[in-house]
């Protein structure tokens, strides 16, 4: 994903181009929604928190450092918004993330135009099974995996988003993979594949 474009859009908006803000919002709505949903659950809550996150980001846009990347900055605001929401509801951050197929209304597939050699050997059933196992991991692990592999943030960027040290994020990433490997081993069918 071309993140240089984000910074250009921010600069354009700050220079007075209102359409640049519209482009930024439309580009990141789905990503922010899915990220926030990791903490507050899918549905109206995630939409409300996403809206709040974008408003907070807009308010702080003048203070945004154009030398830094926009997307990690936005996601950090989204995370803080989600935590504020949970605090207001006096809810705890969900440890287990459940994935309900029925909540999926549409699919937005991330398509890699140049499949890796291994990719051709992995069946779609295997991929779906691993996706379900990732979603069943505690939120602190599934969030790191999704930010790293799906959104393709770097570990330092993930540390910035989650407001944690890089070592903590590396540790969570490592533990997430270990946990996932254990779950795969328990799933005999998946282990065979």
């Amino acid at each position: 994903m071309n993140t240089d474009l984000d910074e250009k859009l921010v600069a354009l908006y700050l220079a007075g181009d209102e359409t640049a803000l519209q482009s930024l919002v439309r580009k990141h709505t789905t990503g922010v929604y899915n990220f926030v949903a990791q903490l507050v659950g899918y549905g109206q809550n995630a939409e409300d928190v996403s809206q709040e996150a974008f408003i907070k980001a807009w308010k702080s846009l003048k203070k945004f450092d154009l030398d830094k990347k926009f997307k990690p900055w936005l996601y950090r605001i989204a995370r803080n918004s989600a935590i504020d929401f949970l605090r207001q509801r006096k809810a705890t951050v969900p440890l287990v993330n459940t994935y309900d197929d029925e909540e999926v209304n549409e699919a937005d597939y991330v398509v890699d135009p140049e499949p890796l050699p291994l990719e051709q050997a992995i069946s779609s059933e295997t991929k779906e099974a691993i996706q379900k196992l990732v979603n069943s991991l505690p939120s602190i692990y599934s969030t790191v995996l999704k930010l790293y592999y799906l959104e393709e943030f770097s570990l330092p960027e993930i540390a910035e988003i989650l407001n944690e040290s890089i070592d903590t994020v590396k540790s969570k990433h490592r533990r997430a993979l270990i946990k996932l490997r254990e779950l795969v081993s328990e799933d005999r069918n998946l282990a065979k594949n």
Binding site: E18, L21, Q22, V25, R26, T29, T30, G31, Y33, N34, A37, Y42, A46, E47, S50, Q51, F54, I55, W58, K59, E103, V104, N105, E106, A107, D108, Y109, V110, D112, L116, L118, E119, I122, T126, K127, E128, I130, Q131, V134, L145, K146, Y148, Y149, L150, E152, L177, L180, R181, V184
Partner: protein, 144 residues
């Protein structure tokens, strides 16, 4: 692309990158933009109210201050010296140093500062109010 330390991690990457992103409702982006527009208008209306209040207050203050200090300025020796500049320029030019010192000494500095401050406040706040009004009337195109 992330770096992989082993085959398992690469497998996880291939699986996760093909995850379905749950699409929010179609109107979410529009609602976000509409909410931002609403906030923008609210802040603009607050600014407009404040600048308008300052304009009115400083204009009234200017009128009051001018009534008090205006006569002091008009009747000061400085005004008479300034009129000499137009009536007898040759004398002013000949004795320009003495003229300059006399002019500076006779200036009702405090009165001028007070009147100028209120005038500046009135003009500046009026200019800011006009600029805010122009922005306030600007409508972003938001599809709903």
């Amino acid at each position: 692309m992330p770096k992989f330390s082993n085959l398992f991690e690469e497998t996880v990457y291939l699986a996760v990158k093909d995850s379905r992103l749950v699409t929010p409702s179609a109107t979410l982006a529009d609602r976000v933009l509409f909410a931002i527009e609403r906030k923008k208008r609210f802040y603009a209306s607050v600014k407009l109210a404040i600048y308008s209040l300052v304009t009115i207050t400083s204009s009234i203050g200017l009128a009051v201050v001018w009534r008090i200090e205006g006569s002091a300025i008009i009747n000061s020796e400085a005004i008479q010296l300034l009129s000499l500049l137009f009536s007898d320029f040759s004398i002013v030019a000949s004795y320009w140093q003495d003229y300059a010192f006399s002019l500076l000494e006779s200036l009702p500095v405090v009165s001028i500062i007070v009147v100028a401050s209120f005038a500046w406040a009135a003009c500046a706040s009026l200019w800011m109010a006009a600029r805010t009004y122009k922005t306030f009337n600007h409508r972003a195109v938001v599809r709903v």
